[in-house]
Amino acid sequence: METQGVEAVSKLGVQYGLPSLLMDAPGGVGAAFALVDTGIAVANNNPQQAVVSGVGGIFSIGGAELGAAAGSLAPGAFKAPAVAVGAGVGGLIFGSIGMQVGNWINGAINTLSSSLYSMQWYINYPTQYSSMPPMQSGISIPLGPHN
């Protein structure tokens, strides 16, 4: 019974999942772009790029779906080109918005970590606030005035 269930799910996945990923291009292509790009950024130890790519990619997936829904308002023979182009337009517009949002998130993370860094320094070395060394990437704990 269990095997049958797994087989049925696999069959559904192969029959409908893959074609929908490939043929229902809007979300599928956006998802592939986002996954690959975020993966490369993570592998290259570039968290800021990973945030921009991830958020931009997620937005482009949603945008492509919205664009396709918008294109589907076109009647009759124009539905097919309108859905295809609409998905592309939505993906690009929302990808662009997502990139900006990703940059804002990076900015917010930087501000937060820099504030935490300063705060930590001030708590540990209250009398030597002026000699605080600049925050280094990947180090969130102040090393101290003598390091």
Binding site: G30, F33, L66, A70, L73, G76, A77, K79, A82, L92
Partner: protein, 211 residues
């Protein structure tokens, strides 16, 4: 008009001219993006043509400046943007948004498909999004514009891949040079379609369930 006459004697709209225009545009993009010789790229006449288009369409310079082969990119984008008014005319000619046939097709199509709430939501969001693209083209607002290339503003290496593709290879450049003017033509056609037929879309009754 490219409308066919069906058996009942009614005009039937076809999107075939739009597909043909897209195909011809793709051939042009592939030719200039891959096969244009270096002699042609350095030709005075071609360079003056692409410079002229670049002065009219800011997107051409934006894309060319960041491309791996700026001269080839400028020619490719300039030629593709020259196709934009032609593609837009073909969209409007084969699918006249103001025609009675279009209104009938909308009534027939949408009354069989989505629910009222979803249709109205998508309609309003689409009019807003496409309207913002058009206003950005004219410089009224500073949001996302294909014409000005503002969708691609920023440092290409810092962009997500989907926006970085046109700067990374000649293939990506040709692909986006082909797609962007088509996308722009679509935005104008779709916006006109929705605005001209807004009432038809908005006040359509709930779809009748199929028995």
């Amino acid at each position: 008009m490219e409308n066919r006459i069906d058996q009942a004697g009614k005009k039937e709209m076809t999107a075939r001219p739009v597909f043909i225009a897209m195909f011809v545009s793709a051939l042009l993009a592939a030719t200039t993006g891959f096969f244009l010789s270096s002699d042609a790229i350095t030709s005075k006449y071609i360079a003056s043509f692409s410079s002229l288009v670049a002065q009219i369409v800011p997107c051409v310079s934006v894309m060319a400046q960041n491309a791996i082969d700026p001269s080839r990119a400028q020619i490719t984008w300039a030629l593709q943007w020259t196709c934009f008014p032609i593609i837009l005319m073909i969209w409007l000619w084969s699918g006249p948004v103001w025609s009675k046939e279009m209104k009938q097709a909308i009534l027939k199509e949408t009354s069989e498909s989505s629910s009222i709430g979803k249709r109205r939501l998508v309609l309003i969001l689409t009019v807003f999004a496409l309207g913002s693209v058009i206003l950005s083209d004219f410089g009224v607002v500073d949001l996302w514009s294909f014409f000005r290339g503002s969708i691609f503003y920023g440092v290409p290496s810092k962009m997500p891949l989907i926006l970085r593709v046109p700067f990374t290879s000649n293939f990506g450049m040709a692909l986006y040079a082909w797609f962007v003017p088509i996308a722009e033509a679509f935005c104008y056609w779709m916006f006109l379609l929705l605005v001209v037929n807004f009432k038809s879309y908005f006040y359509l009754p709930e779809p009748v369930p199929k028995s």
